[in-house]
Each structure stands twice: as structure tokens, then as C-alpha cells.
């Protein structure tokens, strides 16, 4: 789990992580928001369903795939938060036809 340090980086942007409002600093990524929210996993792999959290935070590993604003399988570490952003866990493979 991670915590912000409001004394140096005020948490001013409200996003919804799995429906719960979370305040995060400006410039944080969606992946950071998931860690700050304390989720146990950001996704479960489509191969065996094992839980994962972001590994690299720099767009290399793709272990941060999440559903952002309704779009599945986005690299959460490459998406900067904006107010009201909805971030949800990715459970296995995405639904294609919804």
C-alpha cells in the first residue's frame, strides 16, 4: 500500500477507484490512484486469474491494465488523473461485446 504526502503534494484531484472517491495529487497516474486507494490488485490475469499490481510504472510491463472511464485494458500507469476519472479493476479478459 502507498500513501500520499499532502504536506508536499496536496491531494486535490478526486477520482473514483472502484466507485469509491479518492483524493490524489495532480500529476498522479491512474495506477498511483489504485495504490493510494489500497486496492489489493489492479487486475487478475486472463491466463490464471492471479492478482497483480503495477510493476514498472513506466509503460513496460502492462501489469497495470485497468478499466478507465469505461474503457478496459488501459495502461493505468500511462494515464494521468483528471477530476472524476473512473478507475476499476480488470478481471481477466475483457468483455468484447457489451
Amino acid at each position: 500500500m502507498f500513501r500520499a504526502r499532502p504536506e508536499v503534494r496536496p491531494a486535490t484531484v478526486e477520482v473514483l477507484v472502484e466507485g469509491t472517491p479518492v483524493l490524489v495529487p495532480e500529476g498522479a497516474t491512474a495506477a498511483a490512484a489504485v495504490l493510494l486507494a489500497g486496492l489489493p490488485a489492479i487486475r487478475e490475469t486472463p491466463v490464471t486469474g492471479s492478482p497483480r499490481l503495477p510493476l514498472c510504472q513506466m509503460g513496460v510491463c502492462f501489469d497495470c491494465l485497468a478499466e478507465i472511464d469505461g474503457i478496459p485494458n488501459r495502461q493505468a500507469c500511462m494515464v494521468t488523473v483528471v477530476p472524476g476519472m473512473r478507475i476499476a479493476r480488470q478481471h481477466g479478459a475483457r468483455e468484447a461485446l457489451r
Binding site: P46, I71, N73, G92, A93, R94, E95, A96, L97, R98
Partner: protein, 380 residues
């Protein structure tokens, strides 16, 4: 395991198969099953290898327009496939993900639909007593069969024979089954030269010299250069095909289409172009864009999916697009095998063709596939 280069003695066996792609591996697996001591020679990690870049259809409906013997051979192979898949699963534990639920060819305009209908009707006539079961299906009925069909689709041809499999699982399973049954798979062994005498063949490779009374050339595009050494003719050329693959999605497509199929893993494959560009395996974004466009017109929901992989690979094409199977007249015991549907025909190659090669003679049914068909003198 790589053979030791020390000493470099000649390695003898009953038969040498040149080329470890799907064609060579299927034949080698079949020959080993016939009890022959078989050596399978292949290039290394980097090679023109259609078997690593194909679309994975076990496809029947459109094969053999104007050549009903090819339709029969293809359908025979589709029929052999379940046995091959079961055999490979039992020997290796590898699931080749074979599914044969029938398949459709989507038509995106009335013109395409009419052309397709005429073609299928003509093939049915050509099939004669052998028959060809198919239906031209209009959009409304098709929409019941395929979820999320796009408004641009006017209809499709359907046949019950079609299916798909994992070509990579097939390749690995063939290699593994062959090796575990005692066959010798030798990578990094590009054949660079050879000598031929009736029932006495020798080939040179970086991994040593190999000799056998029988040899099968199944080196894909490499056959064009190898064949003349053994008194054979395989005028094959490369034809580029590009394929896009999406991320995994929960299963939605119940059957394969000619250019769109959902794999066992859930990824959706979109294919495949036909480009005459020689030995050029670069990718071209405009062609990729066309493939994507056709897919999105066929199934609009596919547009939302990420493309996680894409590639281009070279098909192994004969001038008339049909397979070439031959035994050398000058050097009996030398065979050649080439095709541009190595997944579809894997069943036939492993279970029909290999036994013929083991017996030393190709069935007369394969006569039309001889390269002699290209010898017809051209009108000036």
C-alpha cells in the same frame, strides 16, 4: 540438442526431411509413426517461416475452384485433423485447440455476395458425386449466428467443413511428438548443398553431413533452390500476408470467418493481406489499416479492442496457388511437398502423405499436384 561439431561425421538415417515448418514437421511426424529413422533438418531462430506467421484456419469451403482434386484433398485433411489432434494431445499433452464448427465467409456488399454465390455454385458442380455442402446465408439469419454483426454485412457463404486451430501449438506439438518418438530434430542445420543419386542422398549443413536413401524437401520457400539439385521443380514464390491480433476477450465468436477468428486464448485475429512484394517482411500501416477497417465493418465492437500484436509473413505460393507434391523421376526416393495451407493440410500430410512416402510412391490421386503441370509449353 545441438549435435557436436567435433568430428562432423556423416549421420545416416532412413529418411531426411528438410524444413521444420508445419509441412516438414507433419511429414516427419508421420514418417516416424511409420517406423522410419527420421532426421528433420531446420534453420535456426531467424528464418522465413510461414508456419510461425499464419492465420490458423483449417479451411475448406473455398479451396479448389477449378481444381476439384484440391477440394477433395483439403476435405480429406479436415477429416484427418481430429485424429491428428487427439494423437498429438495423447503424445505431448499439447492441445492444438482444434474446433470445426463450420465457418463463414462474410460479404460486405451485394456484389461480393453474388460473386461468392456463383463461385460456390460452380465448385459444387465441379465436385460432382463427391458433393459440396454449403449455404449462402442472408444477413438476418447470419445475425442470429454471429453476435454483433455489422450493418455493412449483407450475407455470407457457410460450410460445415471449416474450422480453426492454434498453428503454434500445432508446430510445437509436432516437434515434440516427433522428438519424443525418437525422431531427430536438428535446428541450425540449413541445407547448403547436396548430392543426389537414386536412393542415395547427402546434404551438407552447418551441423554436419546427413545421408539417407530417401529425402523429403519441405523447406517452404527454400524449396525453390533445393529442388533442382534433386531433379525436382518447385517454382514457389513469396506472397506477403499481414495479420493483426487483438487483446484477449471473453469468447464471443462461435465460429471462424475467413479473415476474423477468435482463438482459444480469446484473442481475435484479423487477417490477412495478399501482397506481391518479394522477400519483404516489413509491415505496412496502410495495409494494416485496411485490415482493421474491414474487421470493424464486419463486427463494429471489434473497433474497441486493442491490437497487441501484428506481423507480416510470407506465404509459400505456387504459380496456380495449389500444393506441389512430387517424387523425382531422375532420383527416385526424393520427394517434394509445398503448399500455402499448411495448417489445413497438416492432417493429410501427417496421416496420408507420410505413409505414401514411406511406401515409396505417391498415390495416383496426387498426380494432378505434380509440378509437371507447369511444364506445359507456353504458346508463343
Amino acid at each position: 540438442m545441438a549435435p557436436s561439431h567435433a568430428g562432423m561425421q556423416t549421420r545416416g538415417s532412413d529418411v531426411i526431411v528438410v524444413g521444420g515448418g508445419l509441412v516438414g514437421a507433419a511429414i516427419a511426424h508421420g514418417l516416424r509413426g511409420e517406423g522410419l529413422d527420421t532426421v528433420l533438418l531446420d534453420e535456426g531462430d531467424i528464418a522465413f517461416r510461414a508456419s510461425r506467421g499464419n492465420f490458423g484456419l483449417v479451411w475448406v469451403q473455398s479451396k479448389g475452384f477449378g481444381a476439384p482434386w484440391y477440394q477433395r484433398w483439403t476435405r480429406g485433411s479436415a477429416g484427418e485433423w481430429p485424429g491428428l489432434a487427439a494423437d498429438l494431445a495423447a503424445r505431448t499433452g499439447i492441445d492444438t485447440a482444434l474446433q470445426q464448427p463450420g465457418g463463414v465467409h462474410l460479404c460486405l456488399s451485394e456484389q461480393e455476395f453474388e460473386d461468392r454465390g456463383r463461385r460456390m455454385a460452380q465448385m459444387q458442380v465441379e465436385a460432382g458425386n463427391f458433393g459440396l455442402e454449403y449455404r449462402m446465408i442472408r444477413r438476418d439469419e447470419l445475425a442470429e449466428m454471429l453476435p454483433g454483426l455489422g450493418p455493412s454485412v449483407v450475407g455470407a457463404s457457410w460450410s460445415p467443413y471449416d474450422g480453426h486451430a492454434s498453428p503454434l501449438a500445432l508446430l510445437q506439438a509436432l516437434h515434440r511428438a516427433f522428438t519424443e518418438a525418437g525422431g531427430a530434430y536438428v535446428p541450425n542445420a540449413k541445407v547448403t548443398g547436396g548430392t543426389a543419386a537414386p536412393k542415395d542422398f547427402r546434404v551438407e549443413t552447418a551441423a554436419g553431413t546427413f545421408a539417407a536413401p530417401r529425402i523429403v524437401l519441405a523447406a517452404g520457400l527454400g524449396n525453390a533452390d533445393l529442388a533442382p539439385v534433386f531433379g525436382l521443380n518447385t517454382p514457389v514464390r513469396p506472397q506477403r500476408g499481414q495479420v493483426l491480433v487483438t487483446e484477449r476477450a471473453r469468447t464471443v465468436l462461435p465460429m471462424p470467418c475467413t479473415t476474423i477468428r477468435q482463438t482459444g486464448e480469446g484473442t481475435i485475429m484479423l487477417g490477412d493481406s495478399m501482397e506481391e512484394v518479394g522477400f519483404d517482411t516489413r509491415q505496412s500501416p496502410p495495409v494494416m489499416a485496411q485490415i482493421a477497417q474491414r474487421a470493424a465493418l464486419s463486427f463494429p465492437w471489434i473497433a474497441e479492442l486493442n491490437i497487441v500484436r501484428a506481423w507480416s509473413a510470407l506465404r509459400v505460393m505456387a504459380p496456380d496457388g495449389l500444393p506441389i507434391y512430387d517424387q523425382s523421376e531422375r532420383f527416385p526416393g526424393a520427394f517434394t511437398a509445398n503448399c500455402h495451407s499448411g495448417v489445413t493440410l497438416a492432417g493429410a500430410h501427417a496421416r496420408l502423405l507420410a505413409p505414401m512416402i514411406a511406401r515409396g510412391a505417391l498415390d495416383p490421386a496426387l498426380d494432378p499436384f505434380s509440378a509437371k503441370r507447369f511444364d506445359v509449353p507456353r504458346a508463343a
